[in-house]
Amino acid sequence: MRTARPKAAARAFAAVIAIGLIAAGCASDRDDDDGSGDGTGPFVFGAAGDPAALDPSLGSDGETFRVTRQVFETLIEHEPGGTEMVPGLAEEWSSNEAGTEWSFTLRDGVTFHDGDELTGEVVCQNFERWYNWSGTYQNTTLSYYWQSVFGGFAENESEETPPPNYVGCTAPDELTAVIEVAEPSANYPGGFSLQSFALQSPTAIEAMAADDPSGEGENITFPNYSQEAGVVSGTGPFQISEWNRSNGEITLERFDDYWGDAAGVEELVFRTIPEEDARRQALQAGDIDGYDLVAPADVETLVADGFQVPVRGVFNLLYLGITQENNPALEQLEVRQAIAHALDRENIVNTQLPEGGVVATQFVPDTIDGYSDDVTTYEHDPELAQQLLADAGAEDLTIDFCYPTEVTRPYMPAPADIYELLKADLEAVGITVNPVALKWNPDYTETTRDGGCGVYLLGWTGDFNDAYNFLGTWFADYSREWGFENQELFDMMSAASTEPDVATRVSLYQGLNEYIMDYLPGVPISSSPPSIAFSPDVNPPTVSPLTQENFAEVTFK
């Protein structure tokens, strides 16, 4: 009797296994209907996150701009693969001597996706739209870059909003637009290349005016037109076809009346895959054709497997911030110099950063105008570091060292590993390190901003080629993050930021970099390119140090 039972059990178990195998067997026959790699389907790119909106003027993050850049164009663009500004929708641009009037000569024959023509009047309509934003639009969440580059609005509704620097826009003829600002600024003309100031058609602007965002106490709602295809309309090589939120998928289709070279693929799809491992495996499985923010540790494997991992130029900076107010010892220059000499930054670059990473000698990458070859440098010299600590009477120095967890940044692929190496360097010269590990968002960013760390790791990725985009972020004025008052430095920053002549401004930046590296408010560590990977079956776009890849260049092999 009992001998029959094992057979029954085995039969049941085998049935379950069989069902699984049949399912898997059927699955193995699945068509590769995602088109990846077969030369005919859409080009699928794995993005790390969803865009915030389809209207670039409401965006402030890379994932938003990666999508909108294929659809909307700006007056000035950057050269493919570089940081130099080149003609975009404007063939030429110039300013008056005071740097307060910027004239743009537009390309002839440019049409928007909805058929509208690009004219000087359209440029002005766009700028007037942004300038006249009211209500929820004036929240930094929606208008971050407008406020950073052009200040406030026609009627500011909050005391925290900066005064407007934008004065007005005129169109003296059909293909000319003149934008007037109150004060010259280092943000011009670079700011005109920001995706946030990409142009939309008059028809789209009119439709958008009828659909305002709403906002009341913890309740800011993006306008509907920015959340679905249909209203927004640019001049780029692709137009938005669909945003399928539940599938994390944005589909763009080729715009056949594009004024430049037509896109190499008919369809471009962005799929959101937040986890880096999942993006890599999706590429290896052939489910996508490319992805960004490749972990440095994966580069070698991918290349060995035949995938393409082109190296970008560097346009970011990782630094060790020092909050002087947090610890009186850090106010002494010798102590900060000792910290700089204690760190083996070459080791960080060699072991933690992808190919193309370099040791930073100052607070701007070497690809930016205003970089100086004459700054004071701080070689790895533990003995000198110990001597400097002794001179400062800080042999028993103890510092809180903050570092972020659960995050990778383009300039900092593995924060915990970088922290461990730097901590060992500091301990080797006798500094006691109290580790403070914080979750990146928002704990870490807030704690460092509030001056809650002795030293900390942070960085910056540039928006355009002007040194103020880096230096101004940190040293324009007093901040708790750095915790020092240095009026001489602040005055130098102010003079450089309002200097209208580019050559003079660059020279002022060089002087600033030299001054800063003598004062040593923190220690620049490295600049490194975030890696991007592509399938062997595609001809990838020219990779950009500004992460501004133009996917219209992509073709299947």
Partner: protein, 334 residues
């Protein structure tokens, strides 16, 4: 039965009220806020002040709570600070994905777990028993993100049998009716879309099922072992009742009671498990959305989600109670 349902729903009111107060206070005491979360390292002091002012975060907590409650009474959960879209829309759009995933995981756990646990108990000490017990231990111990990584590496990258992420292949032009992709394909006759959705469900459902499967195997095994030793089973067998009847009617039916309770509890916990699984497989459901909301201190989303989960737990427990009466007539639901 109707009285039970009404009573349960009435009990829910003070529970949710207390939960909402506690949660609101707790969330607003967390370090950091939406401003830093939204702008990251780009958030300046002024940006933070401006965003906090606009979001009303400078008001006393009780004023903020009052505003939230006022909206809730109008059935408005507010808008996500992070995405700028109404919370309700975000939920309804993502909920079908999560339910589909949770159901698939539960199906795997129940269909495989109960028979496996039953036969492991019946064949105690054999290879089947040892395999089921040790396998379930591994299932409980192995982290979902690691299991997800291994499953993708084997079935998507190496074998190429299954897709590595998402709910649907790029380029599938499927008609969406309910948001449940498998069901939609069946309703519209687009069977290729249904099959595509099943393929996409396979790996995340397996990963999510690992813990419930392990728990169900162990509970079923223990429960069956206990029932097998009962006098009434021995009596039934000695009376000469057919072994199939004894095991089906007396053993399995009685052993299932604790299993049903466990399944009910696990169903609720599947939603929290989905938070990680959906992120690992970029599945696009409510789970990964909540993970991002926690990072962004997205108060309206988190408040709405917790209330939603509380409602769901109550509903599932109610269903479990009702299921008791079907399995065991001695249990009366009133």
């Amino acid at each position: 039965m109707l009285r039970l349902i009404v009573r349960r729903l009435l009990q829910l009111v003070p529970t949710l009220l207390g939960l909402s107060v506690l949660l609101f206070l707790w969330l607003h005491r967390l370090p950091g806020g939406p401003a830093s979360a939204l702008l990251g390292e780009r958030a300046t002091e002024a940006d933070r002040r401006q965003i906090e002012e606009a979001l009303g975060l400078n008001d006393p907590v009780w004023v903020q709570y009052g505003r939230w409650m006022e909206r809730l009474l109008q059935l408005d959960l507010g808008s996500s600070v992070r995405t700028g879209r109404p919370v309700w829309e975000e939920f309804t759009q993502r909920f079908p994905a999560t339910v589909e995933l949770a159901l698939a995981a539960m199906l795997i756990a129940v269909v495989v777990g109960i028979p496996l646990g039953y036969f492991a108990a019946r064949r105690r000490g054999t290879w089947l028993d040892v395999g089921a017990v040790s396998g379930s231990l591994i299932g409980i111990c192995i982290p979902v993100f690691f299991l997800g990584f291994i499953l993708r590496a084997v079935f998507a990258v190496n074998l190429g049998w299954l897709p590595s992420f998402g709910r649907q292949s790029t380029g599938i032009d499927a008609t969406e009716i309910t948001g449940f992709y498998v069901l939609d394909g069946l309703l519209t006759g687009e069977f290729d879309a249904s099959w595509d959705a099943i393929e996409h469900l396979a790996l995340p459902a397996l990963a999510l099922a690992s813990i419930p499967l392990a728990v169900i195997v162990r509970i079923t095994r223990a429960s069956v072992l206990e029932v097998l030793g009962e006098d009434y089973v021995r009596t039934a067998e000695s009376k000469g009742i057919a072994r199939r009847v004894v095991r089906g009617r007396h053993v399995l039916r009685n052993a299932l009671l604790p299993v049903v309770t466990t399944v009910g509890l696990l169903a609720g916990s599947l939603l929290s498990g989905a938070v990680l699984t959906e992120s690992v497989f970029a599945f696009g459901g409510i789970g990964s959305f909540i993970r991002d909301a926690i990072d962004a201190r997205d108060y309206p989303v988190l408040m709405g989600f917790i209330l939603f989960i509380a409602l769901l737990y109550v509903a599932i427990n109610l269903l479990v109670d009702l299921a008791y009466s079907l399995i065991d007539p001695r249990v009366r639901v009133n």
